[in-house]
């Protein structure tokens, strides 16, 4: 358990440092305008949210969101590729002004950075299922073998509430795809968007399979600012933008553009905002 306390100390240290620098520059939004550039931490390896196009440029749904923020501020946009293990540190150290990096929200993260509400997106869980098995909902999975990734947060729910038996869990995506192709399971449970994307990218390979949404509470994703910025004009500015995106259907349109279809959570959020 020592690594946890070490992490805690690090986070506290990072937060303190962030707080000190925050005191020095009380108004981030003015600083960004003065600087003339907005630095946004985005993913570069997570299609279709942030990925590199053939020319090496970072593109994607979250990149388009970052562009919109920069435009509203009237400043230039600078993208900083981040990964899960450094995205919060970059933000707290001031390397980035804003983070839009497929980050799902949990309590520990809420303590570490300032997560902007409302949440802009949510990752649901779906099943890439053999069409012949005629699976419509999770209830149809009773007693059937289902493939999954070892350690995914939804495994427990699928096995205890849907299949009623142990899952066939492999370490990586390729093993799961192979096992599914071999007929060792009726479906592969995974992040819905990535399954939709997989099926699109290899339409021929997956022509006998369909993506079925599973009824598991999606984990919301949040945009983040520095933790001390959450209640400053900068945090409020971002919060208003996300509300506006939901209201105007910007996110729905962007998802349609990048993914080709819309996920249920976003449609619902859009309807609620209107």
């Amino acid at each position: 358990m020592t690594y946890k306390s070490a992490l805690k100390i690090l986070l506290v240290a990072a937060a303190t440092l962030g707080w000190l620098t925050g005191l020095a520059r009380a108004d981030t939004i003015e600083d960004i305008k003065k600087k003339g550039t907005l630095v946004v931490g985005v993913k570069a390896d997570y299609p279709p949210y942030g990925m590199r196009d053939p020319s090496g440029e970072i593109v994607g749904m979250e990149v388009d969101m970052a562009k919109d923020v920069a435009q509203r501020l009237g400043v230039k946009l600078q993208l900083e590729p981040v990964v899960a293990s450094n995205r919060m540190q970059f933000l707290q150290q001031g390397k980035t002004d804003l983070m839009i990096a497929t980050m799902s929200v949990n309590d520990e993260r809420k303590k570490a950075v300032g997560i902007v509400e409302p949440y802009y997106y949510a990752g649901g869980v779906a099943l890439l299922a053999a069409k012949s098995a005629k699976i419509k909902t999770g209830a149809d999975l009773k007693g059937k073998p289902v493939c999954a990734i070892q350690g995914a947060f939804y495994n427990n729910e699928i096995s205890s509430k849907m299949t009623g038996q142990d899952l066939i869990a492999f370490k990586g995506v390729p093993e799961n795809e192979q096992a599914l192709q071999n007929g060792q399971c009726v479906g592969f449970a995974y992040d819905d968007v990535l399954l939709i994307y997989t099926k699109k990218a290899n339409a021929d390979k997956w022509k006998d399979f369909e993506v079925v949404q599973l009824d598991i509470a999606p984990l919301p994703w949040g945009i983040a600012v520095k933790s001390e910025d959450k209640d400053t004009p900068w945090g409020k500015f971002m919060s208003d933008i996300v509300t506006d995106w939901h209201k105007k259907g910007t996110l729905v349109a962007l998802e349609k553009k990048w993914l080709g279809e819309n996920t249920q959570w976003l449609i619902d959020a859009n309807a609620k905002a209107k």
């Binding site: 358990m1 012949s132 059937k144 495994n155 205890s160 060792q184 009726v186």
Partner: protein, 248 residues
């Protein structure tokens, strides 16, 4: 029972020691299921590997060259490839080539389950070693013994069954114990092809409950206990087979 659960729960709230796998019914049930699969897998592959060892060693003494080279080929193939690679190969590469059977929910399933492939692969892997172990025992039986048996009118089969094998078995038990202990520990590799054995279940529990350290210790204790039991049984067997004045 209830007070034990209460005490374990207090360990978590007071000291942060999370032994949820012993008091939460769901977690306990799946851990026990995993242990049962480990035991089943071990028993099946130990038994099969010993049978393979005996048959293989006998085939090696055969007068037919073809039989001898087939046995030799088998040993080279299974002894010289890693068991994890064998399992992946069987499960992902070989399994799709076999005929599929229709399930009652409309899909086509492979003939053999991951458990079956793990058992096959482990049996053949350990069996290859067992052939060599039994051969060493057979070769250690003095030639004069077989000659004496032949002189008494025993056929080749009878010499093997009544003279060579009983003596060889007593010689090889220590080496055999080593190999079956190894085999029992190797069953954890079945995790890779999603056989829901102990390690598989433990990893499911620790990813849901984030009690990695506690689960690691549980695993450790379980395997020490199980291997201890196996070694104890093999020792008992060795002692019960002892012929006064022979060997030691």
């Amino acid at each position: 029972m209830e007070s034990l659960a209460e005490w374990l729960r207090s360990l978590y709230t007071d000291y942060g020691i999370n032994l949820v796998q012993f008091y939460d019914e769901f977690e306990r049930a799946r851990l026990l299921r995993g242990m049962w699969i480990t035991i089943k897998l071990s028993v099946v592959s130990i038994a099969a590997s010993i049978v393979i060892g005996i048959i293989g060693a006998w085939l090696q003494t055969s007068n037919y060259r073809v039989l001898r080279s087939v046995t030799q080929g088998y040993i080279q193939f299974f002894r010289n490839t890693p068991p994890l690679v064998q399992m992946y190969f069987f499960y992902f590469a070989l399994s799709p080539l076999l005929p599929r059977v229709a399930t009652d929910y409309g899909t086509q399933q492979p003939l053999l389950s991951s458990f079956a492939w793990a058992a096959i692969s482990l049996s053949f892997f350990a069996g290859a070693f067992n052939v060599e172990i039994f051969r060493s025992g057979i070769e250690a039986v003095p030639r004069t013994m077989t000659e004496a048996a032949s002189a008494l009118g025993y056929t080749q089969m009878q010499v093997y069954r009544y003279v060579v094998f009983p003596l060889a078995l007593r010689i090889v038990i220590p080496a055999l114990t080593n190999n079956v202990v190894n085999l029992l520990k190797t069953t954890t590799l079945a995790y890779a092809i999603a056989v829901p054995e102990t390690l598989f279940m433990a990893s499911q529990i620790w990813s849901d409950r984030v009690n990695v350290l506690e689960m690691m210790i549980t695993l450790f204790v379980f395997y020490i206990g199980l291997v201890g039991l196996l070694v104890w049984a093999m020792d008992r067997w060795e002692k019960s087979l002892r012929i006064p004045g022979y060997g030691q």
